[in-house]
Amino acid sequence: MKQSEAFLQCQSCKKILFSIDFDQNLRVCTYCGHHHRISAETRIKWTFDEDSFEELDTDLRSGNPLEFPDYIDKLRLAEEKTQKFDSMTVGRAKLAEMPVSIAVADFSFMGGSMGSVNGEKVTRALERGVKEKCPVIIFCASGGARMQEGLLSLMQMAKTTAAVQQCREAGIPYIAVFTDPTMAGVLASYASVADVIIAEPKALVGFAGARVSKQAGVSKVPDDFQTAEFCLKHGMIDTIVPRKEMRSVLISLVKTLGGHLFVEGGAK
């Protein structure tokens, strides 16, 4: 959103909003309900128990295994902009005192694309759930696999999906939240095989980019194509939850699906 001191403009309806109201409303437009993208830090603050987040795996950094043209420059630029090494922030957190392993994506780092570091962090977040016997929650935001790491990126799809299988095997519930956008290689791997899939309203969710669909000669495209609402109608997600209700819905799900992991007052 374009920001000019005390005011800003909604990206969707273009109406002018007070910055203070906007933040208090969790960056959801009070006029049209548009859910603007937010950083991983903000997401974590607004979702999990206060000060409960402990970040992990911050030491992983992408190399340039393929020596792909311009990749290192793009990486360094993103690192500088975000002060992070990757779009994925992972670690331990709590929801109403219940421990959870989390991974939260930030689209602003190279479009949340999944390379080796991204895949590794998601895998570790899922494995942490298995090791520490707590539910896993992943907030997705990604344009897809990271082209610049070639087949290594494609294999992150298999690696992360394998980690979901191990969660299932171990009885660890895994909840995915699709935020705007959740696409391609991420959607076609760990994101879509969550036990429960929640989406934020109007989030873009799809397999093929608009360009590919167009190339494929797709003519009639429904108005709501590749939105959360389209996915719900087609049975691909469980529910659409506005940002302000996200925390309470997640608490209910962790409490019920994760019930077997908890005893009164903490993890078993």
Binding site: T58, D59, L60, R61, S62, G63, P65, L66, F68, P69, F85, G115, S116, V117, G119, E120, T123, A145, M147, E149, G150, L151, L152, S153, L154, M155, Q156, M157, A158, K159, T161, A162, V164, Q165, Q166, A184, G185, L187, A188, S189, Y190, A191, S192, V193, G206, F207, A208, R211, V212, S213, A216, V218, V221, P222, F225, Q226, F230, H234, G235, M236
Partner: protein, 327 residues
């Protein structure tokens, strides 16, 4: 300027081969014995030339040319391997959810005297076949059929053999509405559940998500001139330079060859193709693939079901290249 099709790249060779065929026909018809001998002499020389040319052409196949060979319409497809290497094959169809897919085929068969479950992408050779097979771009129902077959393989203790040959999964509106992403992910996940051994052979194009959905196997083998990529080179060029025609350049950048995949530890073996490619001497390619599957199955047979699973997880768990920063 790079060739755009396999036929274009092989055009001189193809011309030469046509010329030899014509010469042979002329020789056959020639009544005058001395002229016939002369012609036959020329043919021998032409064939020696052809062989040299062939060897030269295939001794230095670039990354883009591998893309062209992998896509060649003369290249052996899944059903060609099924016919050549398997007995008792019964094609099982349908996702049992309302839809049927012809881009992925599969079913039980006998291989080397033992039952196995086959799953593979199927391309078509003429326009009718290609449309029927949707250009080997599977829809969600293809992956859901695969899941059903994988489950059967697990229940009845049959190793899974998957033959990978797809440009990509189907990107259309219908596929999107029936959850192509979920279908690919669920199929990939199912492959990790298996406690029976699985072997995937990339026989042509290993096209991104469309490939991985049936390629998360205990062993992944690639034919020498097959390719395996996160994105088609044209798509990569379109994103990078907004110029899909710079596919050859993108092919090099993407490192989509068997050698590259092996160097990153992403595949287990490269299966050499006969000189001139699998399409020129399919019978040799069939033998190579058969021997490789027999060998790898024999190794996997030594593992317990739990070991098979653990081995497959460990194999994919290691994939990725990154640095660890010390603070």
């Amino acid at each position: 300027m790079s060739a755009k099709t396999h036929n274009e790249w092989e055009s001189e060779l193809i011309e030469l081969e046509k010329f030899i065929v014509n010469a042979k026909e002329r020789a056959r018809k020639e009544q005058v014995a001395s002229d016939k001998a002369l012609l036959e002499d020329q043919i021998v020389k032409l064939e020696v030339g052809r062989d040299k040319f062939l060897k030269a052409l295939y001794s230095n196949v670039g990354d883009w040319e591998k893309v062209l060979i992998a896509r060649a319409e003369k290249r052996p497809y899944t059903l060609d391997y099924v016919t050549a290497l398997f007995q008792d094959f019964v094609e099982l169809q349908g996702d049992r959810n309302g839809f049927a897919d012809n881009a992925i085929i599969g079913g039980p068969a006998t291989f080397d005297g033992r039952p196995v479950m086959i799953v593979g992408h199927q391309k078509g050779r003429n326009i009718h076949e290609r449309q029927f097979r949707n250009f080997a771009m599977a829809k969600p129902e293809g992956y859901r059929k695969a899941i059903r077959l994988f489950e059967m393989a697990e229940r009845y203790q049959m190793p899974v053999i998957s033959l990978v040959d797809t440009p990509a999964a189907d990107p259309g509106v219908e596929s999107e509405s029936r959850g192509i992403s979920e279908a690919i992910a669920a199929s990939t996940m199912k492959m990790f559940e298996l406690s029976v051994p699985s072997i995937a052979v990339i026989i042509g194009e290993g096209g991104s998500g469309g490939a991985i959905g049936i390629a998360a196997a205990s062993r992944v083998l690639m034919l020498q001139y097959s390719v395996y990529s996160v994105i088609p080179p044209e798509g990569c060029a379109a994103i990078l330079w907004r110029m899909p025609e710079r596919g050859a350049e993108a092919a090099r950048a993407l490192k989509l060859t068997a050698e590259s995949a092996q160097s990153f530890g992403l595949i287990d073996e490269i299966l050499p193709e006969p000189i001139g490619g699998a399409h020129r001497t399919p019978i040799e390619a069939f033998a190579t693939v058969k021997d490789a599957i027999v060998k790898h199955l024999a190794e996997l047979d030594k593992m317990s079901p739990a070991e098979v699973r653990a081995d497959r997880f460990a194999k994919f768990r290691k994939m990725g290249e990154f640095e660890t920063v010390l603070f």
